[in-house]
Amino acid sequence: MPQIFDRSSNALARMSLILTGLIVIALGLTLDELQRSPWVTRQGQRADQPVPFSHKHHVEGLGLQCQYCHTTVEKSNYAGIPPTKTCMNCHAQIWTDAQLLEPVRQSWATGESITWTRVHDLPDYVFFNHEIHVNKGIGCSSCHGRVDEMPIMYMQNTLQMEWCLNCHRNPAKNLRPTSEIYNMAWQGASELTPVWCAAEDVPKGSPTAGGVTCTETAPGGEVQMAALSPPVPGLHAQSVGVQIGSEDTGVMQLPAGLHYTKFTSQEALGKFLIQHYDIRNPRELTSCEVCHR
C-alpha cells in the first residue's frame, strides 16, 4: 500500500508551525498599523467642502484672528463655526463675482447654512471642552497643527484616545502662556526661545491664568533663573536661590512688583504653568469621567 502522506509532509508540518506563528504576528501588526492609519483616523485627509476655504490665505495672508470666526472658543465647549454673515462682512465688498464663492452668496440669499464637512469630529461619547483647554494654556496649534499653513483644512493629529491621554498624562510638554494661545508659530521654551514669567496672587473667583504674566522678550525688572525642586539633572534651568514648584516658594516672599523667572526649557515652563494655572494632576486628568460624562 502506498504511503498516504509524501515524505515532504514532515517538512510541511514543521513549516506550518512556524508559518502559523508568523501569520498571527503579522495579523497583529497589520491590525495595529491599520487602526492607527489615516484610512481609519482620517488624519491628514482633505475632505470635500462646498467652498474650498483656505485658512492659510485668511490667517497667514490676511492676518485674521482665530476668534474673528471661532467666536466662542474662550467661553464655550464649542469653538463655533461662523455664520454666513461673517463671510459676507468682507465678501459683500470683495470678490463679489468669484465663482468659488457662489455657495456663500446662495446661502446669504436663501438663509440656508453652508453644509461644511466636519473635519475634527469626535465620537459623541467624548465630552471635549475648548474653553478649559484654551484658558489653561493649550494653544490652537497644539491640537490643530499649523492651521495658518493649511490651504484646505485637515486633521493634524489622530484624535484617538491614546493621543488625548498622551497629553493628559503629561500636560507639561504642551503648556504655554495664555497670551500665546493663538500664536501659530509657538515652539515652546528653549535655550534659543526663552520665556520669562511672573506670578502674582489673584483674588478668588477671577480666572486662575490671570495671575501669570509671561513675555518672550527680556523684561526690565529683576530676573531669576527657573529652578525645579528638587533639581532635575539635564534640565536647562539653573537655580539662583529662588525655588519654584514647592509649597512656600520664594515667589510669595519677594517684594511687590512683578518678579520674572526665566525659563529655557519647556519642561520647567510646563511645571511652572501647571502650578500657577491650577492644572489638576495626571491621576485626575486621566479619570474616565473627565472625557466620558
Binding site: 498516504i4 497583529g28 492607527r36 484616545m161 491614546e162 498622551n166
Partner: protein, 473 residues
C-alpha cells in the same frame, strides 16, 4: 474504591480483589480496538444517531435565532434589569463552566493519582469539558451589551492607550476561562494522538486515512513517541490540576468580591469548586449511561465506573451541603441584619421555591447514594444525575437572582421573570452541547483505545522472566 458485595459467580467481578472489573473479562488488544473504532469507522451511521443529531441541530438553530435577535436588539430582550442585572446568562455561565470541571478532574487529577478506571471515561469527559467551556464562554460575551467589542476584555496594545481593569475578578475570569479552554483542548488532542494513529491505520477510505493521518501528526508508536507522549501527558496533567481548583475559585470571586449579602462570603471558592465537580460528574453520568447503552459499551464502561462516579458525587455533594449550611450558620452568627434577611428571603421570600428545589435536588435526594444497591442501579443513577444537574442549576439561580432581587434598599427591590429569549438561549446551549457531542462520538474515538489496552491483563509486564528450561534437563 472497593465494592465487595457482588456475588462471586458474577463474571464482572474480579475474584482476586472482589471488585467490579474496569473492563469485562475476555477482551484482547484486538477486541478492545475493534469495539471502539467500529463506532467511528463504520460506513453505516445508525439511524438513532441521525435522529439525535437532527434534534440537536434544530435546537442549535433556535440558539442562532436567539443570539442573532440579541445582537440586533441588545440585552433588553432578556429579563435582566435593575436590580437583577445578572440573570440567566451568568447562571448558565457558572453552570456550564462547572460542568467542565469533572473532565479535568478525571483526566488530570485521577491520572496523577493513578486511578486506572478513569481510562475508559476520560476521553469523552474531556470532550464534555471542552464543549461545556464553549457553551460557558458564550455567555459573558453575549451579556456584554456590545458583544462586538468583546475583544476589549483582552489586554492588547490599543489606540485607547488603556489596559483592562486588572483588579476586577471579571478580568480574572477572562484569563481563567481562556487558560482552561486552551489546556483542555491541548490535553484532549495530545491524549488522542495514538488513537488517531490507530484510526488512520484501520480506516478503509482515502478520506478517512487522510483526515486521521493529518490529525495523527505522523504517530508511528515507536518507543520514542511513547516516551514523549507519556511525558507530555504528565506535564499537562500537572498544569491542568491547579486549574480544577483555580477556575471555579476565580469565578466564585465574581460574586464574593461584590458587597452583596449572599455573595460576599469567603466560603465561596471551595464550595464552588466542590459544586463544579459535583455537577460535572452528574453530567458525565448523564452522557455515559445513554452512550454505553446505545453503542453496547457495557464491557468498557462498567458498573465499576458508575459506582465510582456515584461515590464522587456523594462526597462532593456533602461538601456542597456543608457550604450551604455554613451560609445559613454565618447568616445567623454574623448578627448582620442584611445577611439574616438575605437568608430568610432565600428560604421564605417570593423565590423561596427555588431554594427548596435546590436543597431537595442537591442535598436531600442524593443521600440515597449511600445505598450500594442504588449506586449500581443504572436507571436510578441516570435519574439522580439529572436531578443533581437540575439542583446545581438552581444553586446558581438562587445565588445570582434571589440575592439581587432584594438588596439593601427596599424601595429598589424587584423581581425576575425570564423571557422566552432567556429560555431559548439556555436550551439553545444545551442543544449546542449535544450537537457537538454527537459530532464527537461519530468522528473521534470516544474511549481511549491505547489506554484501555494498557489496562488489559495481557499488558502487564512480568517482573521476572520465567526460567528458560535448558535442553537436556
Amino acid at each position: 474504591m472497593a465494592t465487595k458485595d457482588a456475588p462471586v459467580n458474577n463474571p464482572m467481578v474480579d475474584p482476586v480483589t472482589g471488585e467490579y472489573r474496569v473492563i469485562a473479562p475476555g477482551h484482547s488488544f484486538k477486541s478492545v480496538t475493534e469495539e471502539v473504532s467500529r463506532i467511528v469507522l463504520t460506513s453505516h451511521t445508525p439511524l438513532g444517531w441521525w435522529f439525535g443529531f437532527m434534534v440537536a441541530g434544530t435546537v442549535v438553530g433556535i440558539l442562532t435565532i436567539c443570539v442573532t435577535w440579541l445582537f440586533l436588539k441588545g440585552v433588553g430582550i432578556w429579563a435582566v434589569t435593575i436590580p437583577v442585572a445578572w440573570g440567566f446568562a451568568i447562571v448558565e455561565f457558572v453552570w456550564w463552566i462547572g460542568i467542565g470541571h469533572a473532565g479535568t478532574l478525571i483526566s488530570a487529577i485521577l491520572l496523577l493519582f493513578k486511578q486506572g478506571w478513569r481510562n475508559s471515561i476520560n476521553r469523552f469527559a474531556e470532550a464534555m469539558t471542552i464543549f461545556a467551556v464553549i457553551c460557558a464562554a458564550m455567555f459573558p460575551v453575549l451579556h456584554l451589551g456590545r458583544p462586538w467589542l468583546g475583544y476589549w476584555l483582552f489586554p492588547y496594545p490599543n489606540t485607547m492607550n488603556y489596559w483592562p481593569q486588572f483588579r476586577s475578578p471579571l478580568m480574572w475570569d477572562v484569563f481563567a476561562v481562556s487558560t482552561y479552554g486552551t489546556i483542555s483542548v491541548v490535553f484532549w488532542y495530545i491524549g488522542m494522538i495514538p488513537d488517531l494513529g490507530t484510526l488512520r491505520d484501520r480506516s478503509q477510505t482515502k478520506v478517512g486515512q487522510f483526515f486521521y493521518g493529518l490529525l495523527a501528526v505522523g504517530w508511528r508508536g515507536s518507543v520514542r513517541h511513547w516516551v514523549r507522549y507519556e511525558t507530555s501527558s504528565l506535564l499537562l496533567a500537572g498544569l491542568a490540576t491547579p486549574l480544577v481548583l483555580s477556575v471555579h475559585s476565580v469565578i466564585s470571586l465574581d460574586f464574593s468580591v461584590a458587597l452583596m449579602p449572599g455573595w460576599h462570603t469567603t466560603i465561596f471558592p471551595p464550595y464552588f469548586v466542590a459544586g463544579a465537580i459535583y455537577s460535572g460528574f452528574a453530567m458525565v453520568l448523564t452522557l455515559a449511561i445513554p452512550i454505553r447503552k446505545f453503542y453496547h459499551l457495557e464491557d468498557l464502561i462498567t458498573i465499576r465506573h458508575i459506582d465510582n462516579c456515584n461515590k464522587v458525587m456523594l462526597a462532593t455533594g456533602l461538601i456542597v451541603a456543608y457550604g450551604y449550611s455554613t451560609e445559613v450558620f454565618m447568616a445567623w452568627y454574623s448578627a448582620s441584619h442584611w445577611e439574616y434577611f438575605m437568608m430568610w428571603n432565600r428560604m421564605f421570600g417570593p423565590m423561596g421555591w427555588s431554594y427548596w428545589t435546590l436543597i431537595t435536588c442537591n442535598i436531600a435526594l442524593p443521600q440515597l447514594l449511600w445505598s450500594r444497591k442504588l449506586r449500581k442501579n443504572v436507571g436510578f443513577t441516570f435519574l439522580m444525575a439529572l436531578i443533581i444537574n437540575t439542583g446545581m442549576y438552581f444553586e446558581r439561580f438562587v445565588i445570582v437572582v434571589t440575592s439581587l432581587t432584594r438588596d439593601y434598599l427596599p424601595s429598589s427591590w424587584g423581581t425576575y421573570r425570564a423571557t422566552k429569549w432567556d429560555y431559548g438561549t439556555f436550551f439553545g446551549t444545551l442543544g449546542l452541547f449535544t450537537f457537538l457531542f454527537f459530532l464527537f462520538i461519530r468522528f473521534l474515538p470516544m474511549i481511549p483505545m491505547s489506554e484501555l489496552r494498557m489496562m488489559l491483563p495481557q499488558a502487564r509486564v512480568r517482573e521476572k522472566a520465567e526460567p528458560i528450561p535448558e535442553a537436556g534437563d
